[in-house]
């Protein structure tokens, strides 16, 4: 039982950090499909940072700085240049995946993956079987709670939601929606960096090209599934992690009967189900409804 919970926490924690980044962007009214790219940038920067500075703290700081800069670029393109957020987000994702591949290749030669000597510190033997988990797993519930307080119980959070839902009304009481989006995306950049760091340096200590494998998009789906509420989205992300862990479990048990490539598709299938269910419960979302405006130029 313990090992299943450990497996779920290991695969769920990076997803939850990135999901929270999606939640705050969503509440500010930005559909952030760049999460995947930000996450892989965070993962790569952490591992490269460890190799260069020999310090985990410095490595995570480097990852945070780069992810925040990338988020600001996304904000600039969406907010200042009025680009379509979905296409721009996919572009950022492509930049992240291609850019990290290029960076690894140019820094370490033609290696497909880079292994770091150490990762994020572990909880240690004091926590028994759970001592193998990294400290960012233990910090996760507090970050979720902090996010809930920030978004639901502070003046800033309410203004952010107002800017996301009705920018015009928010402006009339003196809020600046554009700046709010910048702040939200920057906080999201920090969270994506931590999520990426946890993915690459939490239990694995290596970076491989394309290692996020759609986790950023899954986090985005968790935002939708969880009604862009920090706690709801966290549970949605945990649900995906549970399905993933069960898939791995099933591979071990029925690996000879069900092809494991198809079991690997379970989290993606669960994501489709989650988005379908949230659409059923609350009516459809409308990401693409305004897309045809492009042609009216």
């Amino acid at each position: 039982m313990n090992e299943i919970i450990i497996a779920i926490l290991r695969s769920g924690t990076p997803l939850i950090y990135v999901t929270l980044a999606g939640v705050i962007a969503q509440r500010a009214g930005v559909w952030n499909l760049g999460l995947e790219g930000l996450m892989i940038i965070g993962a790569c920067a952490t591992i490269v940072g460890i190799m260069l500075t020999n310090s985990i703290l410095a490595a995570i700081l480097i990852a945070i700085v780069i992810c925040v800069l990338a988020s600001i670029l996304l904000w600039f393109v969406i907010d200042r240049l009025k680009a379509n957020p979905i296409i721009a987000g996919l572009g950022l994702t492509g930049l992240g995946i291609g850019g990290t591949a290029l960076a690894v290749q140019s820094i370490f030669g033609s290696q497909a993956s880079v292994t770091a000597p150490f990762g994020i510190p572990k909880l240690g033997p004091a926590f028994g079987a759970y001592g193998v988990l990294s400290i960012s797993v233990a910090a996760m519930p507090f970050v979720v709670f902090g996010m809930w307080v920030l978004l639901r119980r502070t003046r800033f959070g309410l203004r952010l939601a107002a800017c996301g839902e009705h920018p015009f009304a928010a402006r009339s009481v003196g809020a600046n929606p554009s700046r709010m989006r910048l702040v939200a995306l920057s906080i999201g950049g920090v969270l994506c960096a931590i999520g990426g760091a946890e993915l690459a340096a939490g239990s694995l200590q290596f970076f491989a090209q394309g290692m996020t494998a759609g986790r950023g998009f899954m986090a985005f789906a968790a935002v939708i599934f969880g009604a862009s509420h920090p706690v709801g989205a966290t549970f949605a992300a945990l649900f995906f992690a549970v399905v993933g862990a069960l898939g791995i479990r099933a591979q071990l048990m029925f690996g000879d009967k069900i092809p494991h490539d198809l079991l690997q598709a379970l989290p993606y299938l669960a994501t489709v189900f989650g988005v379908w269910l949230s659409g059923k419960l609350r009516g459809g979302t409308k990401a693409a409804s305004s897309f045809a405006e492009l042609k009216d130029q």
Partner: protein
């Protein structure tokens, strides 16, 4: 006319902007940016035989991109072209096994049709989810891409596995030479004819039929179309199916033409590039053809870059991503420059 010219110029400005940005990034990463840009131009269009190679990549991309344009026009953000491309190729590969030994003039059309059906099938379920229960198609089609990728891994290492194949990449048994529609260079009269037929049919569909007009209206204002008596869900589902079928057709062409087999994870950037092509072309069919040649050139240059400029092929992915980042942008500055001397806005 002036307006469409403005649109084209705006697209080109942002493409150029993205290229400059990439050149700076590569310079910063320690590569010679000028060598790189020259290698791209040389590999795409200038070297002898480069145009043929660019067209080889451009034709399947054009077919997928026209389909993407049709669903975007109708207001549906079907970004699952990659998955539909894969499932189309998989279905054609299974059909090739089933029809083995039949006469080529029957088998070849049958394979093309099964590929289109496969692609349409992979667009059907996101379409139904979207139109019946309002499930956002951005996420379902995206997840469909990942699932199709895994399905391809499974098929090429399971039911269709080539036992003689070795190495890291699992691939299917090769298609009989009799059913191939081109050699490995990938440019043949058959493929050109298919692409031309798709282009003409889709141009007619978009510009000369009630469906095309209504679908474009539905993308702008669905309610109005309903008031005019059209069935919104019928229009929507058809545009999903057409875009899926065309992506599946492109996958089938890659299977029956240049590749001759399907391999796990082949052409992973096809769908994304096709979306870019549709957007650069501002969703017009003619523009799509022009943009496809440009991006086909980039795809062809990707094979040439490692040799010429010492750059990894990922460089082309970065260029594409940078174009994606900026292509839908509308800068007031650019607009002001474009309107200079033109009509007041």
């Amino acid at each position: 006319m002036k307006d469409s010219l403005t649109t084209v110029v705006r697209s080109l400005i942002f493409v150029a902007f993205a290229l400059i940005l990439c050149a700076l990034v590569f310079q910063f990463a320690g590569y010679n940016a000028l060598t790189m840009l020259w290698a791209v131009a040389d590999g795409a269009f200038l070297r002898s035989g480069a145009i043929e190679q660019s067209l080889r990549w451009a034709l399947p991309l054009f077919i997928t991109a026209v389909g993407v344009g049709i669903s975007f026009r109708a207001g549906f953000f079907n970004i699952g072209a990659q998955g539909q491309f894969y499932v189309g190729a998989i279905c054609a590969a299974f059909a090739a096994e089933a029809f083995k030994g039949g006469p080529a003039f029957l088998v070849i059309p049958a394979l093309l049709i099964s590929g289109m059906l496969g692609g349409a099938l992979w667009a059907l379920w996101p379409g139904l989810l979207r139109l019946r229960s309002g499930t956002d198609e951005v996420i379902t089609t995206l997840m469909g891409n990942f699932m199709a990728g895994l399905l391809l891994v499974y098929v090429t290492s399971g039911p269709l596995k080539d036992p003689s194949g070795s190495g890291q990449q699992a691939s299917s048994r090769p298609l009989d030479a009799a059913y191939r529609i081109s050699d490995s260079l990938g440019l043949s009269p058959t493929i050109i004819a298919i692409a031309a037929a798709v282009g003409i049919l889709m141009w007619l569909l978009v510009n000369r039929t009630a469906f095309g007009v209504l679908a474009s209206l539905a993308g702008r204002n669905g309610t109005m179309v309903e008031w005019q008596g059209a069935r919104l869900w019928k229009l929507g589902l058809s545009s999903f199916l057409i875009s899926g079928a065309l992506a599946g057709l492109a996958g089938t062409i890659e299977f029956m033409g240049p590749n001759g087999r399907i391999a796990s994870g082949f052409l992973p950037a096809h769908g994304f590039t096709a979306i870019l092509i549709a957007l650069v072309a501002n969703l017009s069919v003619l523009g799509t053809a022009a943009a496809a040649v440009f991006f086909g050139g980039l795809a062809s240059a990707a094979l040439y870059l490692p040799i010429m400029a010492g750059l990894p092929a990922a460089a082309i992915d970065i260029i594409n991503a940078a174009i994606a980042l900026f292509i839908t942008a509308r800068s007031k500055l650019v607009d002001r420059v474009l309107r200079f001397g033109g009509r007041p806005s």
